[in-house]
């Protein structure tokens, strides 16, 4: 049986995207197979972790031989839902919204932005890339009409919650939120928050905890002997 799925730990799911990236690279280099060790090395993880992650959704490797790149690419795309086109809308065409609206990275990954919305009357009607900014009031209609699954929020903080609910109520299933308010607990829709300022705070904290790389001009204080430790931050 092709494994139950359904119960994969979140950290694993997060790594699947990384695996897919790396395997696509191998595919473009015509590498037919890979080992858990080689993939782990490329990403700074451990081989056991890679194996466990992949084993969650079936037995793909061949003992002694490794995994087939193309097979895994196929399966990972299936799991992440990028083997077919997924539609998305964007709300909020400010700085970040504009950048996202013209981002070329979506299409090759199986996502397509089919509508961009704002409430500012001065913006409505303007073109951004190939899309024309529409009134937020028309979002629900578009979502229903095209069966849009994902929403991207790039509005100011105070408007975010309201937009998130509107998206959910119109049938959207998942939200990527760039507004600096955590929307994780909005009921009925999966949200992931990207907060640039908060990320900077994190790095600022982390980097103040570690010694200066410069001052260790010598090989940076030989790692305290032991198996490679995976770095959690990713």
């Amino acid at each position: 049986m092709p494994h139950a799925l359904g119960n994969i730990p979140e950290p694993t799911v997060r790594r699947l995207s990384l695996y897919l990236r790396q395997l696509e690279k191998l595919e473009s280099e015509s590498q037919p197979t890979f080992s858990s060790q080689s993939l782990a090395d490329a990403l700074g993880l451990t081989a056991a972790q890679v194996r466990k992650d992949l084993a969650y959704f079936g037995q793909f490797g061949r003992t002694g031989l490794g995994y087939s790149v193309s097979q895994l690419v196929h399966r990972l795309r299936q799991i992440l839902g990028t083997d077919r086109l997924t539609l998305a809308v964007l709300v909020g065409v400010g700085n970040i919204g504009r950048a996202l609206a013209t981002y070329e990275g979506f299409t090759p990954k199986g996502f397509q932005l089919i509508g961009i919305f704002d409430t500012d009357p001065r913006k409505i009607g303007r073109k951004v890339g190939t899309l024309t900014i529409d009134s937020l009031a028309n979002m629900a209609k578009a979502v229903e009409k095209y069966g849009v699954r994902l929403g991207i929020i790039a509005v100011p903080a105070q408007a975010a919650l309201q937009v998130a609910r509107a998206m959910r109520d119109s049938g959207i299933r998942g939200i990527l939120n760039f507004a600096p308010v955590p929307l994780s607990h909005v009921e009925g829709v999966k949200v992931r928050n990207i907060d640039v300022a908060a990320e900077l705070e994190q790095i600022n904290y982390l980097s103040s905890q570690t010694p200066d790389y410069q001052s260790a001009a010598q090989p940076p204080a030989a790692p305290p002997r032991g198996k490679p430790r995976a770095d959690r931050s990713a």
Copy 2:
């Protein structure tokens, strides 16, 4: 003793930013104190978790009374290093880079972009916001001169690793990476990756695992009785 610090779990650090956000909001509403419960509710976490997190760096609450908003805001800023100005540079002025260069969210959080760099000769010399795009070759000089701590990478995937190393070698301590390559294991510098396409994949996966909110017009299948569960995604 004001607690050892130095050993705070990463998930906790990530939440500190959220706490700070929320407390700044309370401060602007002139709320003098808060309880672990109220903060937890606002963010979709549990009270015990908030208490544990805060207890990592001292005893701030008063039994029976709660915590002082202003005291905690002060301390959190200290910990996250946003009580003083932190300088950053940006490399790669494409779509996303341009948006970040004009993002107004940095300053109020204690970060300041002091230089933007690119390798494209057609871009060098152009102004973006208040800054003028400079040649990447001049980055190291600027970093040393001003003691810049943080770097933001917004270049194409294949250039990212090289830029990261250049940043590290010039003395930068932490990197926020928007290029779709994981740089987590670059030695000598703390990296956090933001990969928009990967985040969409995550949401796409997660949202395909849960039932449709619409079709559950009834109270969505009464949560299987139990204490509130914190949502990990944040």
